[in-house]
Amino acid sequence: MAAAKPEPAFLTTARDRQREMVEQYYSDLASAGGPKRPVAYMLVGGNLTEIVRSFGFEVVFPEIVALNCAIKHVSLPNILHAESQGYGLDVCGYVKNDLGLQELGGQTPFGRIPPPDLLVCSFSGCYVYVKWWEALAEKYGCPLFMLDVPYMRDAEPQAEDIQYLVTQLNEFIALLEKITGRSFDLAELRKTLARSRKAEQGWVDYLASGKHRPSPIEAYFEAVFYMFPINVLRGTDVAADFYATVNEEVRARIAEGHYPVPEEKFRLVVEGVPPYPSYRTFWDFFRKWGAVSVAATYPKVGGLFDRGFLHDPARPLESIAEYSLGAYVNQSWPLRRQIIGEYIRDFEADAVLIHGIKSCRSFTAGQGDLRDRLIHDHGIPTLYIESDHEDPRYFAPAQIKNRMDAFFESLDRRRGSVPLPVVNA
């Protein structure tokens, strides 16, 4: 067998940088907590990272800790522990991973997760958030701030909704001043937002490159890695610099003809949270068929920046309000369908793949109907498959592979192809 060719250096820079950033983040976190470097827990959708950081808080996103646990195959003990405490089978896996982990002392293979000094719940589309944060507040007895984000039924944010949120943000700032004894520094927030905006623009450019044929990016599996800075490190120079590196790499991929799948056969739009415990296996089911995701909704859970929204230092609180409204899970189903429809058109997709989460009642609820509507409205082949984002017990590789093989096989047949040789199967 010929030895595998080493990857060209330009293909590993961004990936290595991403790994370093994640390691750095968790190693910094391990020593955080207490009055000097207080810790705020936040949810990804509609988060208030910039405000919290401007008060010197370190930020923990338990959803991201949970997905990191799952991808590293350590989520199950946490889940089982939470179940032993009475959390049922159908409770969201993120919640069970987090609460189990908290009870077990917060140690993960990537570092210790410090307990919260402040809980910030951005209630943006998922009602589970509220109960989860209440459980944490009960356990830790720390302040809990509830940001009530109105559900988005119109494509544009309404003035009343923005005003409602700005009022809450002012209350939040007053609370932060009280907790930290520091005064709010508007100039500092504007600077932070300017850095966020730069990172967001870089992220948007990266996502747009999926329109290129063949796609130089994997807009689901790869973007999920690259969304870490946009969610966790927004407002820092590190995030903005990272996307500059990524986009340089994307340009090199195009110039050198290096694509995520060597021969792009199917361009997909992907919807849904990934099955993190079997991430690589699931990805392989796509690659084997020359299928590449050209656009995906999930990497936008932290913000729909690709649809024209960027934080605006000139309108700090208003733009944070608009940002919170724009969380993907906070969009009504007609809006979600519209977004997916536009991805199908703009990214010239051949098919849609929906991955539903057994234990999710918010992001996932409605995806069965979504499948039918996409087929009906766009005539686009759409496959729905289901497992879990956290719980490895729900991932049945043979069944999932079988459905995906049958789906890709039928797409292939429409192009007049004959069956696959066994050797490649």
Partner: protein
């Protein structure tokens, strides 16, 4: 004349169909064990024996079913979804929808006029509503599954049986037996439960005649009748209904030898 073989390794049985000049000239069906590679070999050998043909005469072997990659001696592998579509179209060219109820899964496949898959839906990991479900419930009634096909005739008050879990259904059947319910009513209740589960899968892809019912469960008359009652029209059931996947696989192989995809 090209002799082609399709080998369908399912969750409970291995089937083989040999085709020549558009006709099924040999077939075999046997339960699968733990050694799927050997089961696949045996399926082909038995079908050849039935046809009185030799292994070397077979031009192409195509594997299908969950164990399709275990058909090591085969040249091609196609999912059972594609093969059921193709096989049903071969037996009943006006098929628009295939309902296949096998040992451990149920699938509804929408097919186009060429027998190509347009859309499909499958049951979840649970075996409720599949052949296995029927086996378990027949046993709880004290019958073998092969005996219950016509038994539901004359049912007057079908009972309600949960249709979401095999284990629950089995204990429900046992409790109905203990309460002295007429086995015909229990069976009719079971069939109604399986059919309503299947219908929800069928509706996901769109119900449109002709419907071709395949797989082991389609051999059960009570099931066929219940399905027809709910649909309001007759469904196609072939005497070869358990071989539809294998036939489809053989047809794919034939296409390949002829270099067409028609």
């Amino acid at each position: 004349m090209t002799l082609v073989a399709g080998v369908d390794i399912g969750s409970t049985t291995a089937k083989c169909a040999l085709l020549e000049a558009g006709e099924v000239v040999g077939k075999s069906l046997a339960p699968v064990g733990v050694e799927l590679v050997k089961d696949a070999e045996r399926a082909l050998e038995q079908a050849l024996a039935e046809a009185g043909r030799e292994r070397r005469e077979v031009a192409v072997v195509t594997g299908t079913g969950y164990g399709r990659f275990k058909v090591k001696f085969g040249q091609f592998a196609v999912t059972e979804i594609g093969c059921h579509a193709k096989g049903a179209h071969y037996l009943f060219p006006a098929t628009h929808l295939v309902l296949d109820i096998g040992g451990q899964d149920t699938k509804a496949i929408k097919v186009d006029a060429q027998g190509e898959v347009v859309d499909f839906a499958m049951n979840d990991k649970c075996a409720a509503g599949t052949g296995r479900f029927l086996d378990v419930c027949a046993a709880a009634l004290g019958y073998d599954v092969s005996e219950i096909g016509t038994l539901s005739q004359g049912a007057r008050r079908p009972v309600k049986v949960t249709n979401t879990c095999t284990v629950f259904a089995e204990s429900e059947v046992t409790s109905y037996v203990a309460r002295g319910k007429d086995p015909r009513d229990i069976l009719a209740g079971l069939y109604a439960g399986i059919v309503s589960r299947s219908l929800s899968l069928m509706q996901r892809v769109g119900v449109e005649p002709e419907v071709t019912f395949t797989g082991g469960v389609s051999k059960n008359e009570g099931m066929v009748r219940t399905l027809e009652q709910r649909l309001g029209f007759k469904v196609n059931v072939s005497p070869l209904s358990q071989y539809v996947g294998a036939i489809g696989a053989a047809l794919y192989g034939l296409e390949r030898t002829e270099g067409t995809s028609a």
